[in-house]
C-alpha cells in the first residue's frame, strides 16, 4: 500500500526549475532513498513535502489526503517529521528539551493548566520527560541529557535530530543527509538505527543521502533526481547499473571514455 503519493510535483523559483514533474509512490513501511548530484532538487523536494515551500504545481497525498496548502506545523500533525541537511537544533536548550519540543503536538496540556497546577498537566509533563529520556536512550544520547544541544559533538547532533523527529511519533520520517560528516563507525550505527526504527516504530523512511554504500545497503527503492527531473527509479541493483544514473554522476564524457 502506498502511504505517500507525489504527483507531477513542480517547483519554479523565478525562471529556475528546481523540480519538474516529479512523481513518486512510497510504500508503507519501506525505506526509500532519493539520490542525485548536488543541486538536483532533492532538498527542495523535501521542503515541498513538509510545506516549507508550496509547489508550483502537482500534488502530495498522504494516505490519499492532499498536503498542499497546509502550514509546516500541520504537516507535522498529519504525521510527517524530518531532519535537516544543515543541522537545525534548538542550540540553547538542553538535549532532553529538544526531544520534548519534538513531542509538542502530542502534549495536550494548555498553559492555563500549567499556571493553575492542573494535576493532569503535571502528570503529562512528568510522563513526557520519562518518554523523552527513553527516546534519548534509544538514539544513544542519555549521557548528554542535560547538555546544551549546541555543545554536542557533530554525530550526536545528527542523532538528536532523529530523536526529536521520532518524538512526534510520525508515520513518515524524512532524513536529509543523515550520514553527512559522519565517520564509518557512526555511519554503521546510523544504518542500524534506521533499520531498527522502521520495524520498531512502524515508520516509513525516506532519505536523501550521498553515501552510496549506505543507500544501497538499506533502501528498498530508489529515486534518482538530476537537474530537478526524475531520471531513474528502481531497486538498488537496477539503479547501480542504470546508464543514465552513471552519466549523471560521472558526466557523459567520462562514461564514454570509460
Amino acid at each position: 500500500m502506498n502511504i505517500l503519493e507525489v504527483k507531477n510535483l513542480t517547483k519554479k523559483f523565478g525562471g529556475l526549475m528546481a523540480t519538474r514533474d516529479v512523481s513518486m509512490n512510497v510504500e508503507k513501511n519501506s525505506i526509500t532513498a532519493v539520490i542525485g548530484p548536488n543541486g538536483a532538487g532533492k532538498t527542495t523536494f523535501f521542503n515541498m513535502i513538509t510545506a516549507v515551500y508550496r509547489p508550483t504545481s502537482g500534488d502530495i497525498l498522504l494516505n490519499g489526503k492532499s498536503l498542499v496548502g497546509l502550514k509546516p506545523h500541520q504537516v507535522c500533525h498529519f504525521g510527517i517529521s524530518r531532519t535537516f541537511q544543515n543541522i537545525r537544533l534548538f542550540n540553547e536548550q538542553t538535549v532532553i528539551e529538544n526531544v520534548l519540543v519534538g513531542m509538542h503536538q502530542r502534549l495536550k496540556g494548555h498553559w492555563i493548566g500549567t499556571l493553575l497546577h492542573f494535576p493532569e498537566v503535571t502528570r503529562e509533563e512528568e510522563a513526557a520527560k520519562v518518554e523523552a529520556y527513553k527516546i534519548l536512550q534509544y538514539v544513544g544520547l542519555e549521557e548528554f541529557v542535560n547538555e546544551s544541544a549546541g555543545n554536542l559533538p557533530y554525530g550526536a547532533q545528527r542523532r538528536l535530530e532523529i530523536g526529536r523527529a521520532i518524538a512526534a511519533k510520525p508515520k513518515i520520517l524524512l532524513l536529509d543527509e543523515p550520514a553527512a560528516g559522519m565517520n564509518p563507525k557512526e555511519t554503521r550505527q546510523l544504518t542500524d538505527l534506521i533499520h531498527d526504527m522502521r520495524h520498531r516504530l512502524d515508520v516509513t523512511i525516506i532519505l536523501i543521502e550521498h553515501d552510496m554504500k549506505l543507500v544501497m545497503k538499506i533502501s528498498d527503492y530508489l529515486y534518482v533526481l538530476d537537474h530537478g527531473e526524475l531520471i531513474a527509479e528502481g531497486k538498488p541493483d537496477e539503479i547501480r547499473n542504470n546508464q543514465r544514473v552513471i552519466e549523471a554522476y560521472l558526466g557523459k564524457e567520462a562514461t564514454q571514455r570509460g
Binding site: 537545525r88 540553547e92 536512550q137 554503521r188
Partner: protein, 429 residues
C-alpha cells in the same frame, strides 16, 4: 585556606543561615537608625541578591525573600523622613521588574525584539486613567465617572486583558517580519500609540490629548483610600509576585519550550509541530498583560497621566533592564530592572544632591550640566557598551534547567514503551 573555608561555608546550611540572618539584621538595624541613608537602604536590598546565591532550599529562599521585601524593608525604612521616597522607589522597581519580566518573555524567550514595549504600559495606564477620572464622561453617553476607588482592583485584570488584546493586534500584522524589521515595526507601533494618545482629544475627546488626564481617583481598599507610596508598594508587590509566578511556571512548560524553540530555529520549530503565529502571539499577549496591569497601578499612583510618560526612551530603558540582567534569565531580569531604577532614582539623584551641596559650600564647583542625574542616558550607554564587550550574557546569565537524570533513568526502566533497547545491543541486521 580562604578557599577551603569558603567551601566549608557553602556546604553548611546552618552557617549560611546564621550569616544571612546576621547580615539582614545588622543592615536592617542600620537602616532603622540611619533612617535617611540611601546607602543603608541599598545595603539592605543587597541581601536579596545574597539570598539568591545561597545554597538553600528554593522554598525557604522564596519565603525569606518575601519576608524581607514585604516586612523588613518597609519596617526598617519607616523611621525617617525619606520613608515615602524609599517606598516610592520600591514601587517603581516593582513596576519595572514586572514590565521587564513581560518583555523578557517576548525578547528573551521568544526572541522577538520589541522596541515599543512601553505602549502596553500606556494602554494599561490610560485604561484606568480614563475611567478612573471624569474623562470618561466626555465621550461616554451613559454611566457616571470616575468609577469609585474600590473598582480600581477590577482595572488590574481589565488593564491586563486590554494590553493583551493590543499585543495581539500588534502581533497579527507584525509577525510577518523578523529580526531587525520586527524591531523597526514595533518601534513604530510604540510611537503610534503614544502619538495617538497624545492627539485623541478631537473629534471625540477620549484621552484629553496633550493636556493629560488629571485627578485620577485613588484606589480604596474596603473604603480606606490608598494614596501613600508605602501602600502602593504592596499593590505593586502582589502583581510583581504574580508576574514572577507566571514567568517561572511558563518558562519550563510546553509553551515556554515552544517559545525558545521558535527563538532558536523557526524552521525546525515549525517542523516539530509548533504553530508559529499562535506561539508568537501568546508571547506578545502574555508579556503585554504584565505591562497592562502595572500601567493601571502607575496611573493610580501618579494620579495624573499624559503621553509624555510613554516615550521611546522608556521602551529602551525596559529593554536595557532585560539586556543588562541577562536575556531569558528571570533572576537576571529582576536584578537588571532593580539596578537600573535604583541607579536612576536613588544613586544618581543622591550623587547630584551631594555634588550640589559641595558646590554650594564652595569645595568644588561642578557645573549644573554635568550633574549625574542629567547623565542617565550617557551612563546607560556606557553600561551597555561595557556589557556588550565583557559580559554579553548579562549580570546573571540564563541557565538551563537540569532534569534529574537518575530519577528519569529509574522511571524509564520501569515503564515499557516501544523504544525498548538500544539498537546497537541487537547487532547489525
Amino acid at each position: 585556606m580562604i578557599k577551603n573555608a569558603f567551601h566549608k561555608f557553602a556546604d553548611s546550611t546552618k552557617a549560611q543561615i546564621i550569616f544571612f540572618a546576621a547580615y539582614v539584621l545588622i543592615t536592617a538595624f542600620g537602616l532603622f537608625l540611619l533612617s535617611d541613608s540611601v546607602i543603608a537602604f541599598l545595603v539592605l536590598l543587597l541581601s536579596i541578591l545574597i539570598l539568591y546565591y545561597l545554597k538553600l532550599n528554593v522554598r525557604i529562599k522564596w519565603a525569606l525573600g518575601l519576608l524581607i521585601i514585604a516586612v523588613l524593608v518597609p519596617f526598617a525604612a519607616s523611621q525617617g523622613s525619606s520613608y515615602q521616597s524609599f517606598m516610592d522607589v520600591g514601587t517603581l522597581v516593582l513596576i519595572y521588574v514586572a514590565m521587564a519580566l513581560g518583555l523578557n518573555i517576548v525578547v528573551g524567550f521568544a526572541g522577538l525584539l520589541d522596541l515599543g514595549f512601553i505602549a502596553f504600559f500606556a494602554v494599561g495606564a490610560y485604561t484606568y486613567g480614563i475611567f478612573g477620572s471624569t474623562q470618561a464622561n466626555k465621550f461616554m453617553p451613559f454611566g457616571h465617572f470616575p468609577v469609585p476607588g474600590d473598582a480600581f482592583w477590577l482595572f488590574i485584570p481589565i488593564g491586563a486583558i486590554i494590553a493583551a488584546v493590543f499585543g495581539i493586534l500588534l502581533g497579527i500584522p507584525v509577525l510577518r517580519v523578523r529580526g531587525d524589521y520586527l524591531a523597526i515595526v514595533t518601534l513604530g507601533f510604540g510611537e503610534i500609540i503614544r502619538i495617538v494618545f497624545n492627539n485623541m482629544d478631537h473629534p471625540i475627546n477620549i484621552t484629553n490629548g496633550s493636556m493629560g488626564i488629571p485627578s485620577i481617583e485613588p484606589p480604596s481598599f474596603f473604603g480606606i483610600p490608598i494614596g501613600q507610596p508605602s501602600q502602593f508598594y504592596y499593590i505593586a508587590l502582589v502583581i510583581f509576585m504574580l508576574a514572577i509566578y507566571v514567568a517561572t511556571r511558563l518558562e519550563h512548560s510546553k509553551l515556554g519550550r515552544a517559545w525558545k524553540a521558535v527563538r532558536d530555529n523557526e524552521i525546525a520549530a515549525q517542523a516539530s509541530g509548533i504553530p508559529l503565529v499562535k506561539t508568537k502571539l501568546a508571547a506578545f499577549a502574555i508579556g503585554a498583560s504584565f505591562s497592562g496591569m502595572m500601567g493601571s497601578v502607575f496611573a493610580a499612583k501618579q494620579m495624573y497621566i499624559d503621553a509624555s510618560s510613554f516615550t521611546y526612551l522608556e521602551s529602551t530603558i525596559v529593554l536595557v533592564m532585560v539586556i543588562l540582567g541577562g536575556m531569558g534569565s528571570i533572576p537576571g531580569v529582576i536584578l537588571g530592572a532593580a539596578v537600573v531604577i535604583i541607579l536612576n532614582n536613588q544613586v544618581l539623584t543622591s550623587l547630584s544632591t551631594w555634588l550640589t551641596q559641595l558646590s554650594a559650600s564652595g569645595v568644588v564647583s561642578v557645573p549644573d550640566a554635568l550633574s549625574p542625574a542629567k547623565m542617565q542616558r550617557f551612563i546607560f550607554g556606557i553600561l551597555l557598551v561595557v556589557f556588550a564587550l565583557y559580559r554579553t550574557k548579562g549580570l546573571i546569565p540564563y541557565k538551563n534547567k537540569k532534569v534529574d537524570a537518575a530519577h528519569l533513568k529509574a522511571e524509564a526502566a520501569v515503564k515499557t514503551s516501544q523504544y525498548e533497547e538500544h539498537p546497537e545491543a541487537e547487532g547489525t541486521h
